[in-house]
């Protein structure tokens, strides 16, 4: 599923698969998060202007340019903690980015995605279907309920 999201962002997914992928992403918060994270990574890798190394300075300049400091006497004491907290936020973003990049390794490929594509017919539904509409195969080959559970 994550590969499909990645393929969609790279414009490599056929339009046929889109409906299904959107349904899956909408119905699963984890995939929604994955979508956002991939865009963050993409922005970083493409050197999106927002993510340049001087991100902090730019942000500080913008804050500097902001009007309205209502209590001039407290200016110095107020600004330092703010700088620290912004620095902390930037560090947090970098840390999350790093963690996400680490997770793209092979160990993540093995983790089961939360929304799965059906690899077989769930036996409970096949069994219920055969109860009302038995096919030749359900008469003569083992029925669904036994083929999966009997061993």
């Amino acid at each position: 599923m994550k590969e499909q999201i990645s393929a969609l962002m790279d414009d490599e997914l056929s339009t046929d698969s889109l409906d299904y992928l959107f349904t899956a992403v909408k119905s699963d918060d984890n995939l929604g998060e994955c979508w956002a994270t991939y865009h963050l990574i993409g922005d970083v890798m493409r050197g999106n202007p927002m993510m340049k190394p001087d991100f902090k300075q730019q942000l500080m300049q913008k804050l500097e340019a902001e009007p309205a400091v209502l209590a001039p006497r407290n200016i110095r004491r107020e600004r330092r903690p703010m700088m620290w907290s912004i620095a902390a936020s930037a560090a947090a973003v970098m840390f999350v980015g790093w963690v996400v990049l680490q997770q793209q390794g092979p160990e993540n490929a093995n983790a089961a995605p939360v929304v799965e594509i059906a690899q077989n017919i769930p036996s409970e539904y096949l069994q219920a279907h055969q109860a009302v509409a038995p096919s030749s195969s359900s008469y003569f080959i083992q029925p669904a309920a036994y083929s999966e559970n009997a061993q």
Partner: protein, 314 residues
């Protein structure tokens, strides 16, 4: 001159024989499978699976009695009386008994009446071929659209019974074949054969079905593939589910499709998409907080189409 005339007459007769109505022959096959008394062995093949089955079918105006014994692998048996079918399946230390509604049990693959099939299928006569020591007439039953499988039948020229059947998928590849290797008519009224011989030493257990009538007023179905009609709607307990599932059953006369509708379980996300197993196709999707599962002996396009046709009233 006389000879020429005779030849012409003969040729005409032959062509008349060829002009036989294929639907008439299919109706004869459907009737023969239910009305005649016969015993035989047929081979069922699908993918890598193959089973020999011995069938005994009797009808002396007292209704139908049939017993099919699977001769290969585990000794399953299917006994039917009228429309009640009971399947005996050995399983570990037990023999599990399941009840079914009678349907398409070979050689009675065709429905009792052909009228429902004519809208979705077209019938065409083929040549004559020998099957299992009997003279057979080939009849093709092809779908008029891409939403169902096609069939090739060999019917007995003397008794009408289906001797052989091949099911073709939408790409015209054979996916299932059933062939009589031996077939004789019976003239005894002895009913000793009508009892299961699975394994008398084992404990027999009945598998209960838990179904109730369903209210489906909030479910709306858009355009379905032509010919598919709803034949039943129930609420049933599906193994592993806490709440009953709404089960709608559709059929075009030959193929059957089940629609299962239930609220999405937040804890257990459904697997989405489709899958094929032998002649059976499956498709799941989620719509308006409901999970829709479609299973049927139809092409993949049909189950996907039907799943996407389900809408809910707000």
């Amino acid at each position: 001159m006389k000879h020429v005339l005779l030849t012409c007459l003969l040729a005409m007769q032959v062509s008349f024989a060829y002009a036989e109505d294929p639907w008439r022959l299919l109706q004869d096959a459907a009737d023969a499978a239910r009305e005649l008394s016969y015993r035989g062995i047929f081979v069922y093949q699908s993918g890598h699976n193959s089973r020999s089955v011995q069938i005994t079918h009797m009808n002396y105006g007292q209704g139908e009695y049939a017993r099919s014994v699977v001769l290969d692998g585990s000794p399953r048996e299917v006994l039917s009386q009228g429309s009640d079918v009971v399947i005996y399946t050995p399983r570990n230390e037990k023999v599990v008994i399941t009840k079914r509604r009678a349907q398409n049990l070979f050689p009675a693959l065709l429905p009792p009446s052909m009228s429902g099939l004519k809208a979705s299928y077209e019938a065409r006569l083929g040549g004559q071929e020998r099957v299992g020591g009997r003279e057979g007439q080939v009849i093709f039953l092809n779908s008029r659209d891409q939403y169902r499988y096609g069939y090739k039948f060999w019917t007995d020229r003397e008794h009408g019974l289906i001797l052989k059947s091949i099911t073709f998928n939408e790409n015209n590849e054979p996916i299932e074949q059933i062939t009589f290797t031996q077939l004789t008519l019976m003239d005894t009224q002895n009913m000793d054969w009508f009892q299961p011989h699975v394994d008398p030493a084992k404990h027999y257990v009945m598998e209960e079905e838990n179904v109730a009538a369903a209210d489906v007023s909030d479910v709306q179905l858009g355009q379905l593939p032509a010919g598919f009609k709803k034949i039943d709607q129930v609420k049933r307990m599906v193994p592993g589910k806490q709440v009953p599932v709404t089960h709608l059953i559709y059929s075009d006369g030959l193929a059957c499709v089940s629609l299962f509708i239930e609220p999405v379980n937040k804890k257990r996300q459904p697997k989405l998409g489709g899958h094929t197993l032998g002649s059976t196709n499956f498709y799941t999707h989620v719509s308006d907080g409901y999970q829709v599962v479609v299973v049927g002996e139809v092409p993949a396009a049909t189950v996907a189409h039907m799943a996407n046709a389900v809408k809910f009233k707000r």
